[in-house]
């Protein structure tokens, strides 16, 4: 039985897996100790649970458990990585390289350190949303201390050439950080194979709880350190103070274990559904997939339906929870900066929907989404003056628009 509304916004957050909740439950009331309490069994039990979760989390990315620093989520991890590296290594150099399609948590952390004297290079992507290792190489300077490049993009799901960039950074002695929030748990991420020195990720994008994430900080070849961004009790090897969120960490650990075990089966199923969704929606005239199809996460699809405005479209598919790159509600009226970075026309950027599938998405839900999106696009095109002009063969670029 189909239950409405349908959730297809799994890049924003995922529902928690019931098995994760089950694992967490005892840690709220029965095993409630502070993992830093060394003097009694309440603390020991909590610490034991955290240690176990740390192993589960580390195993998913092929790290050692001592390299996992628990945080409140990927935003904090990104801040800690970028600001923490800058503070720790500023004497060595002040130059950082990143990409213009990064998440705001990275871009704004970079803006912050720019005010403190850092020089930041923002690489431009191609129309697929990808950068090349050559671009990174060309941007490297003798004083470059960090390259920060997201593993997979949150809006379009494209996967950057991590292995090649990691190898380059490693050979040049430059630290390599990645915001892997969207990738971990969905595809194989291996910090050793990819030569990653710092990696941000979070629980709630992979069927775990919100409010818990981690920063992987490499301990050897090279040994990396970041300056703490919060003062306190010196938890997490002095890099992140604050009483550990034991139930959250236990849930995060369980979520990582489930992803490790089930990723392959989940992916095969999800990719079939995603491909079907795209195939059937591409039947609509003037519909497009945004970003690289070849280098892409299995569960994301970002599509534009030209001549239909995204927010209006979302209103037309009210029983399907998706997000749009349009920004009609924002004061600036600017569409998604990620889609614009791909060189998309504004009207295409305003016409986009992002579908994010999950472990819990069903074929029935995908079918419902296909039918209703199609219906809404057709209805809205019937009332779109731009569609009418397109049908009459009028070039929209030839019109003098009154911009407001």
């Amino acid at each position: 039985m189909l239950k409405l509304p349908i959730y297809l916004d799994n890049n924003a957050t995922t529902p928690m897996d019931p098995r994760v909740l089950e694992a967490m439950m005892p840690y709220f009331t029965e095993i409630f100790g502070n993992a830093a309490s060394r003097n009694h069994p309440f603390g020991w039990k909590a610490e034991e649970a955290v240690d176990y979760a740390r192993e589960q989390v580390a195993a998913l990315i092929n790290a050692d458990e001592k390299e996992i620093i628990f945080t409140s989520g990927a935003t904090e991890s990104n801040n800690l990585a970028i600001k923490g590296v800058f503070e720790m290594y500023a004497a060595k150099g002040q130059h950082i390289i990143t990409v213009e399609t990064e998440h705001k948590a990275v871009l704004d952390a970079c803006k912050h350190i720019e005010k403190l004297g850092a020089k930041v290079t923002y690489l431009k992507t191609n129309e697929q949303g990808l950068i090349t290792v050559k671009q990174v190489e060309d941007a490297l300077q003798p004083n470059t201390i960090l390259v920060s490049i997201m593993y997979a993009n949150n809006e379009i799901g494209v996967i950057q050439p991590m292995k090649e960039i990691g190898a380059l950074c490693h050979s040049k002695g430059v630290l390599f950080h990645t915001d892997a929030t969207q990738a971990v748990g969905k595809i194989m991420v291996d910090v050793i194979a990819d030569n990653i020195d710092l990696l941000s990720f979070t629980g709630h994008k992979m069927y775990g709880p919100k409010g818990v994430g981690a920063l992987y900080v490499r301990r050897k070849n090279p040994r990396v350190k970041v300056t703490a961004q919060m003062d306190g009790g010196g938890h997490e090897r002095g890099m992140r103070s604050g009483t550990l969120n034991v139930p959250g960490i236990v849930g995060f650990g369980k979520a990582c274990e489930l992803c490790k075990n089930e990723m392959q089966v989940d992916t095969e199923r999800i990719i079939k559904m995603r491909d079907r969704l795209e195939k059937e929606l591409l039947v609509l005239e003037e519909s497009y997939i945004n970003g690289s199809k070849e280098h892409r996460l299995p569960h994301v699809s970002n599509m534009s339906f030209k001549y239909v405005e995204g927010e209006g479209l979302i209103m037309g598919v009210k029983n399907i929870a998706v997000s749009s790159g349009s920004a009609c509600t924002s004061a600036s009226l600017e569409p998604s900066y990620v889609l614009k970075a791909l060189g998309l026309d504004d009207e295409l950027a305003h016409s986009s929907l992002r579908f994010g599938l999950s472990r819990f998405t069903t074929d029935e839900e995908v079918e419902y989404a296909i039918n209703h999106v199609k219906e809404a696009v057709i209805k809205l095109r019937d009332m779109s003056p731009l569609w009418e002009m397109f049908k009459e063969g009028i070039d929209l670029k030839s019109i003098q628009w009154a911009e407001h």
Binding site: E309, T329, L333, M383, W387
Partner: protein, 138 residues
């Protein structure tokens, strides 16, 4: 963000979608907004030459639900009005009627601009001077 019931009603049952013959002398067409801003409205009026009353109004809009509702409401209000009375429609009347939140006020502004632009098109076609807009929106 939640839409008001009236916005939802206009979105689900838009009034007066369509196209009038823009070449006809008694038809005035206003096309306002821009694709890159995410809103384009085309509003058309057909004026009875004898009475000066707007006997038909049609719209097509590319935009969010509030933009669609604002233009749909505008066509409803225009029908039956004299051209002079139509000029008195203020964007704040639309905001009030549709209970638009502050971030959607620009949708009502666009609808008012579309009305004025359609009327001016009609006036120019019929040998009258365009009305100067005392409200500068851009």
């Amino acid at each position: 963000m939640a839409y008001s019931e009236k916005v939802i009603d206009h979105y689900n049952n838009p009034r007066n979608i369509g196209t009038l013959d823009k070449n006809k002398k008694e038809v005035g067409t206003g096309l306002v907004g821009a694709p890159e801003c995410g809103d384009v409205m085309r509003l058309q009026i057909e004026v009875d030459e004898v009475t000066g009353i707007i006997k038909d109004a049609k719209f097509k809009t590319f935009g969010c639900g509030s933009a669609i509702a604002s233009s749909s409401l505008a066509t409803e209000w225009l029908k039956g009005k004299s051209v002079d009375d139509a000029l008195k429609i203020d964007n704040m009347d639309i905001v009030e009627e549709l209970a638009l939140p502050p971030v959607k006020i620009h949708c009502s502004v666009l609808a008012e601009d579309a009305i004025k632009s359609a009327i001016n098109d009609y006036r120019v076609k019929n040998g009258l001077a365009p009305i100067e807009d005392d409200k500068k929106h851009y």
